[in-house]
């Protein structure tokens, strides 16, 4: 489920993923021991060192900057290790090490799911070292409240494997901070989870009941670590069985509780604490053309929805989206709806809703850009918003309401004039950065490719004109000056290419 963007609890901003253990300290030699005092199952739990490359969206033409961190992964099948997506995002090189053995084994990402912060790794050369290791089995169930769990991994505070213990504190929906926009079931535990624990198993007996992945920083809350529970893990493993990861499916609706008696009276609803009112339906989402604003959703696949939007699933009261969370692209879902004082049944086919990714963190993505006469154009997304601290009110509108106001239908990409590489030709345009490009030579711009095409085309008059949204001053460039300026700027500012457009 994706988070509705406009009612964001403030404290969530502090949720942080836990791989921050920097490589420099982690690379110290660990003692060369072949035996450990730990049980056999720890043989399957490995330390992951990831060298990553982070791109700077302000200089999208530059190579990325190396960085890195360490985390934990564990064997779940032949040459198959489960870990967090954030442990291995943007990886340039991944190395795993067995407990008590400093031999590095090179590994690679087989599948990665940024929306649920999980990834599968495999060794590039299957090694004898793991021949005896027994894959950990994943529990089919969610652990009960107040039952004991232990967290195993390679967190900060030492070189060797670490075990901490605690109980299941809460089962609830949480924001997954790796993508920043997704919410799934998560389990809060009070066992210490520290940087480096990420991707490590949370065990109950011999079975994995979760993957440790995030926590609050200490000054916000104490002893609140979170693990990804098995329904999310199992869904990921099932999704990739066809050889690729398809992303979660979404209802792509907004809802409001029905708690006020006047709502029931006005809608002629029976007084039985059932149903939530639909307040928005994304027309390109799974419910588009089927649900309407003002409908009351009574049940999903036979699970009654209560007046706050919760369902009872396997004895747990949980967010109704959980029914959808366990399904896949193309799966069907039955909706029972109250419309016009009558019950109606619909069946929908589930699909993802990519428009909400406007506000998601991006990974493994080479930033697109286009430089023309020193003006740098880039498509709007979360990374761009952060890198340039864009504050222009219209730009913020395009960003905040891209999904909600269905701007994506008209504008697949929002092209922003992000910066100006100073030169004689553009010396008067530096105050216009951070604004959305509306037209180039009178042609409406709906993607970066549109901008590239419009700029490549010979304009009719003597000038190239660029209209920014809500800005009365046109940007005008004398055609005859552009070619020389382009060459000069590209050379001086060290741009090997004047553009990168994703294929």
């Amino acid at each position: 489920m994706f988070r509705s963007t406009h009612f964001r609890p403030a404290a969530l901003a502090c949720l942080a993923v836990l791989t921050v253990l920097p490589l420099a300290t982690a690379q110290q030699e660990s003692p060369d021991e072949k035996t450990t005092s730990l049980g056999k199952q720890y043989e399957s739990i490995v330390n992951v060192e990831c060298s990553a490359l982070r791109v700077d969206y302000r200089t999208p033409w530059n190579a990325a900057t190396p960085s890195g961190g360490t985390g934990t992964a564990f064997l779940i099948g032949p040459n198959l290790f489960l870990t967090n997506a954030h442990v291995v995002s943007d990886a340039s090189r991944i190395v795993v090490k067995k407990v008590g053995d400093s031999t590095p084994h090179r590994a690679r990402v087989k599948f990665i799911a940024h929306d649920c912060d999980l990834a599968l790794l495999e060794l590039e050369q299957p090694s004898e070292a793991f021949a005896e290791a027994v894959p950990l089995s994943i529990s089919p169930e969610i652990p009960k409240l107040d039952t004991t769990v232990k967290v195993v991994g390679y967190p900060i505070g030492g070189e060797r494997i670490s075990v901490t213990r605690g109980v299941v504190s809460r089962v609830d929906y949480q924001e997954y901070s790796h993508s920043g926009v997704d919410q799934h079931l998560a389990i809060q535990i009070d066992a210490a989870i520290n940087p480096g624990n990420s991707g490590g198993p949370v065990l109950q007996g011999t079975q994995v009941v979760g993957v440790a992945f995030q926590g609050y920083s200490g000054d916000v809350a104490q002893n609140t670590g979170y693990m990804i529970p098995t329904p999310v893990i199992r869904r990921f493993l099932k999704d990739v069985q066809d050889g690729r990861y398809d992303h979660y499916v979404e209802l792509a609706i907004q809802k409001t509780p029905i708690l006020n008696p006047a709502q029931r009276k006005a809608l002629n609803l029976p007084d039985n604490d059932t149903g939530v009112m639909i307040t928005a339906v994304d027309s390109t989402g799974s419910c588009g053309g089927i649900l309407q604003v003002g409908d009351v959703l009574l049940a999903l696949d036979g699970y009654p929805v209560d007046s706050t939007g919760s369902i009872d699933i396997e004895g747990e009261q949980t967010e109704m989206a959980e029914v959808v969370e366990r399904k896949f692209v193309g799966d069907k879902l039955k909706l029972k709806v109250w419309r016009g004082s009558k019950e109606q049944e619909f069946e929908i086919t589930l699909k993802p809703f990519p428009a909400y990714l406007m506000q998601a963190n991006r990974y493994e993505q080479q930033p697109e850009y286009l430089m023309h006469a020193g003006l740098v154009f880039q498509p709007l997304d979360h990374e761009l918003m952060g890198a340039f601290s864009l504050t222009n009110l219209r730009t913020r509108y395009f960003y905040d309401y891209y999904a909600q106001d269905e701007l994506y239908k008209e504008l697949p990409e929002i092209v922003v004039l992000t910066s100006v590489l100073p030169d004689a030709i553009n010396t008067w345009f530096r105050d216009y950065t951070g604004q959305v490009v509306e037209e180039i030579n009178g042609v409406k711009i709906k993607s970066l490719k549109d901008a590239a095409d419009a700029l490549a085309k010979e304009p009719d008059g003597t000038h190239l004109t660029i209209r920014l949204a809500g800005e009365g001053r046109l940007i005008v460039l004398e055609k005859k000056l552009i070619a020389a300026a382009q060459e000069r700027i590209q050379r001086k500012y060290g741009l090997a290419q004047d553009r990168y457009l994703a294929p």
């Binding site: 406009h6 009612f7 409001t256 509780p257 029905i258 708690l259 006020n260 008696p261 006047a262 709502q263 009276k265 006005a266 809608l267 009112m277 307040t279 928005a280 604003v293 003002g294 504050t391 009110l393 913020r396 509108y397 905040d400 909600q404 030709i425 010396t427 008067w428 345009f429 003597t462 000038h463 004109t465 800005e471 009365g472 001053r473 046109l474 005008v476 460039l477 004398e478 000056l481």
Partner: protein, 493 residues
């Protein structure tokens, strides 16, 4: 007794001639003005904020009027004029106030008796030019006069009091020590009023002064009712220094002019036919350079905003020479004033209660800038985005037929509003099927619920809110007055 009156009689003839010839001094021409302000609480508009008493200095003018800044006089509840030395006080009231030009005159509330005896009204000097020596007058807390010399050295346009409004400012250099927490100080040149000190930057020792020329135009306007005020020209402009822009606009490379980038519908310029893309070459015979400045006979290079607002008056006609599509045209623009209530979102609200209506705990208001500013200095980032966006794009809403932007500013927990407690910042489209264009239309719409249920349609959030009419009436009558001490459930004035 006899001795004292004899003494007085002896002294008076001696004292009088010397006072008549001496230049005015702080003692003779400056008064303390103690003002207790109490604005309304824009979050809970049925009540006022905590009263706040401020102390300023006013300049005595002809007719026992005392000049202060409007900023000091805002939302005045109670005013005293005080002689600095003797501490003698009388009660007073606001005679006239203009928050844009940031000036107000204060007059005695009752017969002043001999309060002004021995005092001398200041004349106003509107002829000052840079390099003049000025004195900032104030008092020590014990009433001793203090005069700080500063040098007037620069003229510019700058903000007075309200956000985003720029008027003539004199800048002066020199140390001014603030005494006894006074707010705005009179500035004097050779015994005449040169202006009112608005701001002082102690690090750079720079004073921003509201000049006498602006005081003079304000007083003249007050003296000849009806009050006309400053006109609202209603354009946004951009320099034409860029040679590529000049060749695109077919402008003579050397000849100045400023580009109109936006024209506000309904304001003076739009009403007279000024268009986006026009280039203004001259205003009232003054040539504008490529930055939009003109050569003022008194002050030198100055922004054209002064010609269009500060120096102009509503009712006058502004003569423009424009270039449109490369061709020169002449245009006469009758100047009109826009009052805060003429905007979709009032840019300021003083001396009146915000308009609101409460229905069973749901609080409706008309959006005002002071409401948005409750979110603090960073209100553009912090206040509800839809409201901030509406404030910045008022034309879109005016074109859609709204006169004011009615929104739900909050919900008071009451029996009627169970489940709605967290709603805030929601723009109202319709109530009971009727379009809401201002609070009066809302007051009308809530009279006709269907089947005893009010239906409120809003942008975003729950989209539709239902309220039980009987419960709302009961809460309006009992719960809200008793628990929240709401004395009036609406203010539509």
């Amino acid at each position: 007794m006899k001795f004292r009156s004899l003494l007085a009689a002896l002294l008076l003839p001696l004292a009088l001639p010397s006072m008549a010839t001496a230049a005015p001094s702080p003692e003779t021409s400056i008064l303390r003005v103690n003002i207790t302000s109490q604005g309304y609480n824009f979050a809970l508009p049925w009540q006022k904020q905590r009263p706040n008493t401020r102390r300023g200095l006013g300049a005595l003018l002809q007719g026992n009027r005392v000049l202060v800044t409007a900023e000091l006089a805002q939302d005045a509840n109670y005013i005293e004029l005080e002689q600095a030395a003797s501490g003698k006080r009388i009660t007073a009231k606001v005679e006239a106030v203009d928050y844009e030009i940031n000036l107000a005159t204060i007059i005695p509330d009752e017969d002043p008796g001999d309060f002004f005896k021995g005092m001398e009204a200041l004349e106003i000097d509107t002829t000052l030019k840079p390099k003049a020596s000025l004195d900032v007058w104030q008092f020590e807390s014990n009433g001793t006069p203090v005069s700080s010399p500063v040098e007037f050295n620069r003229v510019d346009l700058g903000p007075y009091f309200l956000e985003d409004q720029f008027f003539l400012i004199f800048q002066a250099n020199g140390a001014v020590q603030y005494r006894s927490g006074t707010f705005t100080l009179p500035v004097i040149h050779e015994g005449k009023l040169a202006g009112m000190l608005l701001r002082y930057n102690s690090r750079d020792q720079v004073s921003d002064i509201l000049p006498a020329a602006m005081v003079d135009r304000f007083l003249e306007d007050v003296a000849t009712p009806p009050y006309e005020g400053l006109p609202s020209f209603g354009v946004r402009m951009s320099p034409t220094l860029d040679p590529q822009l000049r060749s695109y606009l077919k402008l003579d490379p050397a000849n100045g002019g400023i580009l109109i980038t936006d024209v506000t519908p309904g304001f003076s310029a739009a009403a007279a036919g000024v268009q986006q893309g026009d280039v203004i070459m001259e205003m009232n015979g003054y040539k504008l350079d490529a930055r939009g400045s003109y050569d003022d006979p008194l002050y030198g290079l100055l922004g054209s905003g002064h010609l269009a607002r500060g120096k102009a008056a509503a009712g006058e006609v502004m003569k423009l020479k424009l270039i449109r599509d490369g061709k020169p045209i002449d245009l006469d623009v009758p100047l009109m004033r826009k009052l805060p209530q003429d905007y979709l979102v009032d840019p300021y609200v003083f001396d009146r209660q915000p308009r609101y209506l409460i229905l069973g705990g749901v609080l409706f208001q008309e959006l005002t800038l002071p409401f948005l500013q409750l979110a603090g200095k960073e209100w553009r980032d912090r206040a509800s985005f839809r409201l901030v966006y509406a404030q910045a794009n008022q034309d879109e809403f005016l074109k859609a037929g709204r006169r004011k932007l009615v929104f739900i500013s909050g919900v008071l927990p009451a029996p009627c509003t169970i489940g709605y407690e967290r709603m805030a910042g929601l723009i109202v489209n319709q109530v009971n099927g009727k379009d809401i264009t201002d609070l009066a239309s809302l007051a009308e719409a809530v009279k006709s619920p269907a089947n005893g249920i009010h239906r409120i349609d809003v942008v975003d959030g729950p989209r539709t809110i239902y309220l039980d009419d009987a419960q709302a009436k009961q809460d309006n009558a009992e719960f809200l007055p008793n628990r929240y001490r709401i004395t009036a459930l609406s203010n539509l004035k």
